[in-house]
């Protein structure tokens, strides 16, 4: 590399800082005369109850980072999650599964959902998710293993629930093993000269200079904050009615479920995520209507679980217009703060670190790279945000003031177009940075009751009787396949189980 960058200083905390350190060290610092990476680790904020809930695509990031996927899952108490089941988001309507799989089979190159819409119109009362192998497998607490037939029919895949504290440990260990320099300290002062960071003065009295700075300090944006104006941070509070994040732990579920349950209630929602050694609970709530303690009790009784290690923090969603300013590039939560809804934890870390590695500057002039970085990272953040916001905007909890209010909020521009297109014809307008596929949008729209009245006219080319037969065949095929799948409990035991003293009966 002909880079003029000789030294990178990464300032931050928790998982963001270690992911950045591991990625940069692995890519740029592993040969003689290469870049030197130094981590200044700020005091961690992760607690014993925190968990990360990631979407399926996040798993590929482990390849990029050179982490052994199975070992990560084992060490971070990980459990595979084939979907998320949303309960009570629409009043008395049944819960729906947002599984990571498509629906049915596209006949004559027309999306299956279009056929389902026609059938629905003529009285079909089978939910869309019943046509998804992934959703049914998740509901049956199975683990999807493909055979020759199912791999043509389904693309069911899974995200991960991880114990945040253990996971950070795994990543940090890998980074340190690769030779990342590391110190724990606080940044006392950021010395900025002509829009660039000149040096950092640390609490310990030392100062550090680098050619390039990475800000992985989360919401605090410790470095970037010294370079940006206040307007750089765009708040999304109008679309996210709940401003307090609560985490807690309950006992592990057995048999372990294949999905996470996300339940809405009067003052917010809570997700229950199975881990190997415990159940992680994350709630987003507001204290506007109900006192915090009362809300907490409400959650505890709804989960029927004894909750321990409860911690609560203020939580604000939003994004930086520019995450890369001068010689300082923010990664992870410092770029954008997203809720955990729809397994978007670590998504910003993944996106930003991948872009940073791709656009890593070859000289000390970063203009082009930073502009592209800023545009792309923001697009991803907004697109992910839109998917989350959709859940709120089309909720049907009309008698709860907080929920009712968010229904009236004007959607972000892009989402507004999506909603109106969907309502008119059941089609999803996809942009080029979508994390979720069409089927995910279908899950949420239809699951929350936005069922278009019209359907693709090409559907009518198939006689209704033929369609009914095809549907029935598909349903029994799926139910047979699901029945033959191993359970998630088994899969987990096979991966992680160990009987200490060979042959022990008890």
């Amino acid at each position: 590399m002909s880079s003029n960058i000789k030294k990178i200083a990464i300032v931050g905390r928790d998982t963001d800082v270690w992911l950045a350190a591991l990625a940069l060290q692995r890519r740029f610092a592993r040969y003689k005369g290469a870049v030197e990476v130094e981590v200044i680790e700020l005091p961690p904020t992760l607690g014993r109850s925190d968990c990360y809930v990631t979407s399926p695509s996040y798993r590929s990031f482990h390849d990029f980072l050179g982490l052994d996927k199975d070992a990560v899952i084992k060490q971070a108490q990980g459990v595979a999650s084939f979907g998320q089941r949303f309960a009570n988001w629409c009043g008395p309507a049944p819960a729906y599964m947002h599984a990571y799989d498509r629906f049915g089979y596209d006949f004559n190159n027309v999306d299956f959902v279009q056929y389902w819409l026609r059938a629905k119109k003529s009285g079909l009362n089978v939910a869309l998710e019943n046509f998804s192998l992934g959703a049914m497998a998740a509901l049956g607490n199975r683990y999807v293993v493909f055979n020759e037939q199912t791999e043509n029919f389904s693309r069911a895949t899974y995200g991960l629930n991880l114990d945040a504290f253990s996971y950070t440990g795994v990543v940090a260990k890998a980074a340190l093993k690769l030779g990342v320099k590391h110190r724990q300290d606080l940044v006392e002062h950021v010395d900025v000269q002509k829009g660039k960071i000149e040096r950092l003065v640390l609490r310990s009295g030392e100062s550090i200079s680098a050619d390039f700075y990475v800000d992985a300090s989360g919401d605090e944006a410790k470095l970037l904050g010294a370079l940006e104006s206040k307007e750089n941070f765009e708040s999304w509070a109008q679309w996210f009615p709940f401003d307090r994040k609560v985490v807690a732990s309950g006992s592990a579920l057995k048999p372990v479920p294949s999905y996470a349950q996300i339940s809405a209630f009067k003052d917010g929602w809570f997700g229950l995520y199975p881990l190997q050694n415990r159940s992680a609970l994350t709630a987003m709530i507001s204290t506007a209507e109900t006192a915090f303690e009362a809300s907490l009790q409400n959650i505890a009784s709804l989960t029927a679980m004894r909750l321990e290690n409860v911690e609560a923090v203020e939580f604000a969603t939003g994004a930086r217009q520019r995450s890369w300013v001068g010689n300082c590039c923010a990664v992870g939560t410092a770029c954008a703060s997203l809720e955990q809804l729809d397994a978007l934890d670590l998504y910003m870390a993944q996106v930003s670190i991948l872009y940073l590695c791709t656009l890593f500057p070859t000289s000390l002039d970063f203009d082009e790279e930073s502009q592209l970085y800023n545009r792309k990272v923001l697009e991803h953040a907004k697109s992910a945000r839109d998917f989350q916001v959709l859940h709120y905007l089309i909720n049907e909890r009309r008698s709860d003031p907080l929920w009712a209010a968010v229904r009236g909020v004007s959607p972000p521009q892009d989402l507004k177009r999506k909603i109106s297109l969907y309502k008119s014809c059941g089609k999803v307008s996809m942009n080029d940075v979508e994390l979720f596929q069409e089927e995910s949008w279908h899950s949420v729209f239809i699951g929350q009751g936005v069922v278009p009245d019209k359907y693709d006219p090409l559907v009518d080319a198939m006689p209704e009787q033929e369609q009914i037969e095809k549907f029935q065949k598909m349903l029994s095929y799926i139910s047979n396949e699901v029945e033959s799948l191993p359970t998630m409990q088994t899969e987990l035991e096979m991966r992680t189980g160990s009987d200490d003293d060979g042959g022990s009966f008890f």
Binding site: E483, E493, M494, T496, G502, G503, S504
Partner: protein, 506 residues
């Protein structure tokens, strides 16, 4: 049967063996053609304590066309999924020898080889997790799955019974008498033999009655009234391999749930059985009088009961070994008179049953039946020899050396046949059972690994599939077993719903 000289059969002794024989002969040879007389004395007690069996007993009951639930009710029986061995490998350890298959055999070789390979690749789940009976036993569950319809996606449950042997004898007595068996009360005082052939001709009883017969079945127990005292068939002593020579037995009150298995707990100079019946628990301490006194052994037994004793302890004396000629002239020995293998693997009743089926197969047509008896004796000898090796393995494969008894059995010379088998097992996980052997691969595997002998290799066929395929196969088996265990009711519930015995007066 007009061409036969054998018209009168006399059975001596009315314990379990006697009445099983009477029932079997009556059912298959019939009393119109064959007169069957059983002589027993109420003054002579039977040895029958709580009796544990192996699954082939269900076959015996089936061929007699007994109603299973009636049989269970009548004999206060419970169901048995296997035997738990406590403290056999070492103190504080416990393993299970289940009935039923370990996993699923593939590609012509036993599942154990595939498990061994998986283990060599880092798999952590114990082999017992791949056996349905063990999992059900762990959860105190039981269900008869013989009549399940549909494709066999889950393993069938193999089981036997624990029953009150004297009630079983009484039950079969009703059965036999209904079918024309003549019962005579009396004690034998002398025996008339043919002066030229030495065959038995007549029994004289204490009440003056005389019983003539063409063929005699000696079910007189350890004493071997006809086979030894009259015919001097000879006894082969195996006590250098199986040094236990006493048993002290005592029933006690039930406590807690009915265990669906027998428990065998190793003690300082022997072992203790625990056999759960519906109305009580049968207990016994089998020991070697060379290493512990009767008083001490009795005290140890009474100190280790799960409930209040219901009778005075009774001591039985025996010598482990085999009657050299179980069938001599016109007399066949069945049950304890034919040899004694300690009840460690519940083989006593099985050997009776086996002898009955062989007697039926070779039933003599003339008093001169040497060909039949030679063949019978050869086959039965093999059965005894094979079982003997299996029993010895429980003693010599162990980590225990904490008492003189265990020091002896761990280091004693063992039969060459067993020596070879243990070596093959250690090197490559092979048991190489002969076709007719009672205990097959899975039994040997469970006991040898349970006793602490883990094979170092496995069959090369198990290495021919990919690691992914291997893992998938094992996952499916484990999943099927979990599903099986999940759907089973508890043993208590199953008995309560189907076959609870009437409450008995103690």
């Amino acid at each position: 049967m007009s061409n036969t000289e054998i018209k009168k059969v006399v059975i001596v002794g009315g314990g379990t063996a006697g009445w099983m024989t009477a029932a079997g002969l009556a059912k298959f040879l019939g009393t119109p053609n064959l007169s069957i007389t059983l002589v027993e004395s109420e003054q002579i007690g039977t040895v029958g304590v709580g009796e544990a069996t192996i699954p082939l007993i269900t076959m015996f009951n089936r061929v007699l066309e007994l109603d299973e639930f009636e049989f269970v009710r009548e004999t206060n029986a419970t169901f048995k999924l296997g035997i738990e061995f406590q403290n056999w490998k070492k103190l504080g350890h416990s393993y299970f020898h289940p009935f039923g298959a370990l996993g699923v055999d593939w590609d012509g070789i036993p599942f154990s080889h595939f498990w061994l390979r998986w283990k060599s690749l880092g798999g952590g789940l114990d082999s017992s997790r791949f056996n349905a009976e063990t999992e059900a036993a762990r959860e105190l569950k039981f269900m008869n799955t013989d009549n399940e319809s549909g494709p066999m996606v889950m393993p069938r449950i193999n089981y036997a019974y624990h029953f009150d042997a004297s009630l079983y004898a009484a039950y079969l007595r009703k059965y036999a008498e209904k079918r024309g068996v003549n019962r005579v009360e009396g004690k034998i005082v002398s025996v008339d033999k043919c002066s030229s052939h030495g065959t038995i001709e007549k029994l004289r009883l204490d009440n003056g009655q005389e019983l003539e017969g063409d063929f005699f079945v000696d079910c007189s127990g350890f004493s071997g009234l006809l086979i030894e005292k009259e015919l001097k068939a000879g006894y082969e002593d195996w006590s250098h391999w199986l040094p236990v020579d006493r048993a002290v037995a005592v029933p006690c009150e039930n406590s807690g749930a009915l265990l669906p298995y027998t428990r065998s707990t190793a003690r300082d100079a022997g072992w203790q059985w625990r056999i759960p019946l519906q109305h009580r628990i049968g207990n016994g301490h089998v020991f070697s009088s060379k290493y512990i006194s009767e008083d001490e052994a009795t005290a140890q037994l009474l100190d280790n009961l799960d409930g209040k004793p219901l009778a005075d302890p009774r001591v039985l004396k025996f010598t482990t070994g085999y009657r050299k000629k179980g069938w001599d002239k016109n007399c066949i020995a069945l049950g304890l008179s034919s040899g004694f293998l300690e009840p460690l693997e519940s083989t006593s009743i099985h050997l009776v049953q086996l002898a009955i089926s062989k007697l039926l197969a070779y039933f003599p047509v003339s008093k001169n039946c040497e060909h039949e008896s030679v063949r019978y004796n050869k086959e039965m000898r093999e059965e005894y020899e094979n079982i003997k090796d299996f029993l010895i393995a429980h003693y010599c494969v162990t980590e225990r050396e904490d008492t003189p008894f265990w020091q002896y059995v761990k280091n004693m010379p063992i039969p060459e046949s067993l020596e070879t088998r243990l070596k093959l097992f250690r090197d490559r996980g092979e048991v190489l059972v002969k076709h007719q052997e009672l205990f097959k691969n899975d039994s040997w595997f469970a006991v040898l690994t349970g006793q602490g002998l883990m094979p170092e290799g496995f069959h090369p066929v198990a290495a021919a599939i990919s690691e992914d395929e291997l893992r998938l196969r094992l996952t499916k088996v484990r999943s099927g077993i979990q599903k099986r265990a999940e759907m089973m009711p508890t043993h208590d519930e199953y008995i309560k719903q189907n076959c609870a015995a009437a409450k008995m007066k103690m």
